[in-house]
Amino acid sequence: MFSRRINIFAGHFGSGKTEVAVNFALKLSKEYKNTAIVDLDIVNPYFRTVDARDDLEQNGIWVIAPVYANTNVDVPALPAEINTLFEKKEYKVVFDVGGDDLGAKAVSRYKDEIVQDDYEIYFVINTKRPMTNNADRIKEMIWEIEESAGLKITSLVNNTNLLGSTTSKDILEGHELIEQVSLELNIPIGFISGMKNALDQSIQQLGFPLLQLEKHIKLPWE
């Protein structure tokens, strides 16, 4: 799961990309001293990677975020630091890409560097989201993102959830849909992610790597 140098997380907005990317980076940092995460979200001004900056930095992760992230300005400017990550080969890098085809546009800026590197492009799916709740809609979303990013999705992530009320049954239902997409598009399933209580034995039996999530992006009353 952590073999690639560059790990890019794309998907529909609200699929849980950011939580998955943040948790992925935290796990990665346990194995690799040099880990970086890039908040490449130029779409969503709220609830983003930079919200988890303290947790990430305490674990020695280098956080690169747009200068104006979480301020009152919504200027989608990408920091120049991102370019150095393609030179510093000693780093493992996680990219949290913005939602949908609009968000994926930002990653196309680095297309040439990415294809020459050792990379994985994950597509994060929550089948409980209305725009990705059947195989056709998921495929359409994948094609839109691929076209916008100029890159092919190489791995699918099952992040099916209803937040705190998620059960393993929800994840299994999602798995069925995602397996269908995986077969039709010939893209492997990379891993399944979810909160600890939902990743029970029935999920473990599926035989895919699991990423246990901890909630890092919080609301004011949480």
């Binding site: 907005f13 609200g14 969503n44 001004p45 709220y46 609830f47 301020t71 009152n72 300005v73 919504d74 929550n126 409980k128 989201r129 209305p130 725009m131 709740n133 959830n161 209803l162 937040l163 009320s165 609301l219 004011p220 009353w221």
Partner: protein, 352 residues
């Protein structure tokens, strides 16, 4: 209940509108509510509806005027600066008694302000942001589920009274994700609009005219009196309010929207320290739950209004409590959100 999904507040507004029979949406993008337009753009073609990204907010509200005048269920949405631009259209539509739903996912001001959450448009929404003696029904949900239910409700109220209904949320509510459970079928108020809407005469009657101009002052006064009588009726029938933990409360907090959710945690924290805090959460900001505040006016030692602004709803709380108890205020601005501890400290300071 039916299908359970994980949705963003903004998406739910659009989905609820479609389920309520809205087939016309006109709007112009602005953070933090653009997902509403985004969702309609994808979904309206699937249900045979109309999505138009207008050339401006002003154009959008006038398209709403046209569609509502023709008897359609119609919606527009924006965020604070865009809602300011719509005020002329809002006043005209109110004068012409047109039913429609307007969404304001409020961001901080004044002016261009910023994109972060705020409640600083309370005055604009409930006191009349446009000119003339008009009212809009203003609904303030606090969760994604309630956003769904109240959006459907807003269309029904609008049609029932021939009035504009506004859904007012802040950026947190628009952007946050929560589970939402949809009903299999919505209860839709079926209004017969043939007596006033431009639905076609079939050459069998005179034209219906949609207008807010009345040349004769006596006629215009009568028109205004009719509007006022309608507003009094709405004040009687359509107040919605949540009362929580108010019996024997030491302090009753007034808060609406997402702030009320922070206050609910403060109530738990306070209880651990032996302080009894209650919450009155107006769900309709207009009509304001005056009678609820009257009922509890002499229960606590004091009231505290907590808002994401410089003190707006607090004026209505003061008018309703009517001097029986002191009414305090705590607010944050600029996109800052009060912490639970900060609100608890304020309560303790009041009780000192």
């Amino acid at each position: 209940m039916g299908e359970k999904l994980l949705m963003k507040g903004n998406e739910v507004i659009a989905e609820a509108a479609i389920r309520a029979g809205c087939r016309h949406y006109f709007g112009y993008p602005i953070t933090p509510q653009t997902e509403i337009a985004h969702y309609f753009a994808k979904k309206m073609p699937e249900v045979g509806g109309t999505f138009i990204q207008a050339e401006s907010e002003i154009a959008a509200i006038n398209m709403v005027y046209g569609a509502a005048g023709a008897g359609a269920r119609v919606m527009t949405s924006s965020s604070s600066p865009g809602i300011s631009l719509k005020q002329e259209g809002i006043s005209y539509a109110s004068g012409a008694e047109l039913p429609a739903v307007i969404v304001n996912i409020v961001r901080c001001g004044p002016g261009l302000g910023g994109i972060l959450p705020a409640q600083c448009d309370y005055f604009q929404a409930v006191k009349g942001g446009g000119h003339g003696d008009y009212k809009m029904v203003v609904l303030a949900p606090c969760s994604v589920q309630e956003l769904y239910e109240l959006t459907v409700e807003a269309f029904n109220i609008a049609d029932k009274y021939r009035i504009l209904a506004m859904i007012m949320g802040d950026g947190i509510l628009g952007q946050m994700m929560e589970t939402v459970e949809f009903r299999d079928k919505e209860e839709i108020y079926e209004a017969d609009k043939s007596s006033w809407a431009t639905v076609g005469t079939r050459m069998e009657r005179d034209h219906n005219v949609i207008t807010s101009i009345y040349i004769d002052p006596e006629v215009l006064e009568r028109h205004n009196q009719k509007l006022q009588a309608k507003y009094r009726l709405i004040e009687e029938n359509e107040v919605r309010c949540e009362v929580y933990n108010c019996e024997d409360a030491d302090v009753i907090v007034a808060a609406f929207g997402t702030v009320a959710r922070i206050v609910k945690n403060v109530i738990k924290m306070a209880a651990k320290e032996g302080i009894k805090v209650g919450l009155i959460r107006p769900i309709t900001l207009w009509p304001f739950p005056v009678k609820v505040f009257e009922k509890y006016a002499e229960v606590p030692k004091a009231f505290l209004s907590v808002e994401l602004n410089a003190g707006q709803m607090v004026e209505d709380v003061r008018l309703s409590v009517n001097g029986k108890r002191p009414v305090y205020f705590h607010g944050r601005m600029g996109g800052m959100i009060p912490t639970q501890q900060e609100i608890l400290d304020k309560i303790k300071e009041i009780l000192k």
